[in-house]
């Protein structure tokens, strides 16, 4: 899928080089060199992919291997038998379904909020001209440099004072308060021709009407990008939920994962089984909607 985004150009580069050097040197020698180069590149690509994939493969192997095999040190690179006992142990010992549900509820709400709030704000910053809009944008940009650890102490007190502590909102609202979506939205909506909007205004449409009738329908790809980026970020978020979630039954999956590791210590089978439950939904979404994630990352640089 990514390929389609990047594909077109380089083909021509290679074919050009073939043409050009055929004048300078015997065709066969060149073809051999080209083939050697290709083999080297394929080898490099396979090596890099192996380094990325091996830890994930190993996670799978450990998650599906029996405890005796893990403890006995008889585990092989290619396991002889696979078992679900790690999953059974984890599911029996921890409220995984609840934690999974918490993760879904929190990240979906964050994603919806992010889309709503930033479409509105992005429209204002990109298409409406008013005093102070550049300053707002600049300040919003600057807030992206603030790590949560800098503001965690007062943020915790604030959330407690607002009566949010002990609910999903303690995580949702501070997570949704991120300027990354504002930029993505602003950059995207800038590409909508201003004439279109002015024409509607001249015809007497209100700014709200312009937003719902013109901006929204043209922003579908943006909505997808914002939604998936926010979903991924919130699903994987760790530092703030670690502080804001103290009650066991409000845990999200990453916090639950850490909690399980604290309880089970070096029971790697259980840890990896749970890690898989945390990781697989996002990997699947990531692969299916790769285009939107890639757009989000390249346009905003958020991770």
């Amino acid at each position: 899928m990514t390929a389609s985004v990047f594909l077109p150009r380089v083909r021509t580069l290679q074919s050009d080089s073939t043409q050009e050097s055929s004048i300078l040197q015997p065709k066969q020698a060149h073809r051999r060199r080209f083939r050697v180069g290709l083999v080297a590149r394929v080898a490099g690509a396979i090596a890099m992919s192996a380094v990325v994939l091996f830890p994930l493969y190993w996670m799978l192997v450990v998650a599906f291997s029996s405890r005796s095999e893990l403890l006995g040190g008889t585990l092989r690179l290619w396991p002889r038998a696979l078992t679900l006992e790690n999953f059974e142990r984890v599911l029996a010992g921890f409220p995984i379904a609840t934690w999974f549900g918490n993760s879904v509820a929190i990240s979906a709400t964050v994603a919806v909020l992010t889309v709503l709030v930033n479409l509105l704000g992005g429209y204002a910053l990109s298409q409406l001209r008013f005093r102070g809009s550049e300053l707002v944008f600049l300040i919003a940009l600057t807030t992206l440099m603030i790590p949560v650890q800098v503001i965690m102490v007062p943020l915790f007190r604030l959330v407690t004072n607002l009566g949010l502590y002990g609910s999903y909102w303690a995580v949702i609202l501070p997570t949704a308060a991120s300027a990354f979506g504002l930029f993505l939205a602003r950059q995207f909506i800038l590409s909508i021709p201003r004439d279109l909007i002015e024409a509607a205004r001249v015809d007497g449409a209100s700014h709200l009407r312009v937003f719902t009738a013109i901006v929204l329908p043209l922003s579908k790809p943006l909505i997808a990008v914002l939604f998936f980026m926010a979903l991924l970020q919130s699903w994987n978020d760790f530092a703030w939920p670690l502080i804001a979630l103290k009650e066991n039954d409000l845990f999200t999956l990453p916090i639950g994962l850490l909690y399980l590791q604290g309880q089970f210590g070096s029971d790697f089978g259980a840890t990896m089984a749970f890690a898989l439950i945390n990781v697989v939904p996002m990997i699947v979404l990531f692969l299916i909607f790769q285009r939107y994630f890639v757009q989000g990352f390249t346009r905003s640089g958020i991770k």
Binding site: E20, G121, A140, P147, L257, Q261, F286, F293
Partner: protein
Amino acid sequence: MTTGMAVRSAESDLLRDPVRGGSQHRKGRRERVREGVAGWLFLTPNLVLLGLFVIVPLVWAVFISFQETDGFGAGLFVGTANYQRLVSDPLFWRSAVNTLLFTAIVTPLSMAIGLGAAVLFNSVLPARGVFRSILILPMAISGVATALIGVLVFDENNGILDNILRFVGLPAVNWQSGGFAAFASIVLVTLWWRVGFNMLIYLAGLQGIGPQLYEAAKLDGAGIWGRFRNVTVPLLGPSSFFLLILNVIYSFQVFDIVYVMTGGGPQNATSVLVTYAYDTGFVTRDQGYAAAIGVVLLLVTFVFTAVQWRTNRNRDLVE
């Protein structure tokens, strides 16, 4: 997290403004007022969220950094005592040095490997799209899961990496008990996690380099390396600048991996400023001091980004 790209295009918008402003002169005063009101209204939800959950806590954090408080009851004002304490706190300096070291290692490495991968996966290659997808896959994985996979792979008692090292006749490495090895394991896991992102940005940058430039360089007698050095690298300047700022900001904030993999140990060998601030604020509950650590970290981040920004601009002006 911040983006140079967005800022850069913000700049170009500013340049475009006079043209746009032209239409504004034709507009009536009432229309302009109405547009302003609409603008602020549309921005309100965002301003409320950012104001309440970022700006207010930020100002509050500065305030708390002048207090001594455990988070229960009112704090005691102690002036600049927290900041004075920082100067003579060895653990603070250790964490600061570790943070800088981590940044100085991870930033160039992830950019260099990312660039290599981008050039490789931009060349003619079978199943190129599949390879690209594999490289960016770690971006979908949570920091906690990534760190736990790191714990699994780097375990010094029975981890797969040490087993492989022993199998091929190399000495096993004490990834947990050795300070240097623990630091290295964090760097390696971070690279695994982050290289895909760097590759993605460079791939996007490579799309902007026209093939005729390579042809011209080739006619001038440049080899593969010459073309890489004199065409690819300079023309990827904007991508590199963007990545430099992002990687530095990210590295200053590295938390998930360190917290889960080593917890800052052994003997603080991997303690960084954010983990130290977290421990101080929510484990030992010395919250005034934690706020002071955070404020210093933020100042360093601001200064660094501003310096990068300024020097880059100057370079553009010179050229």
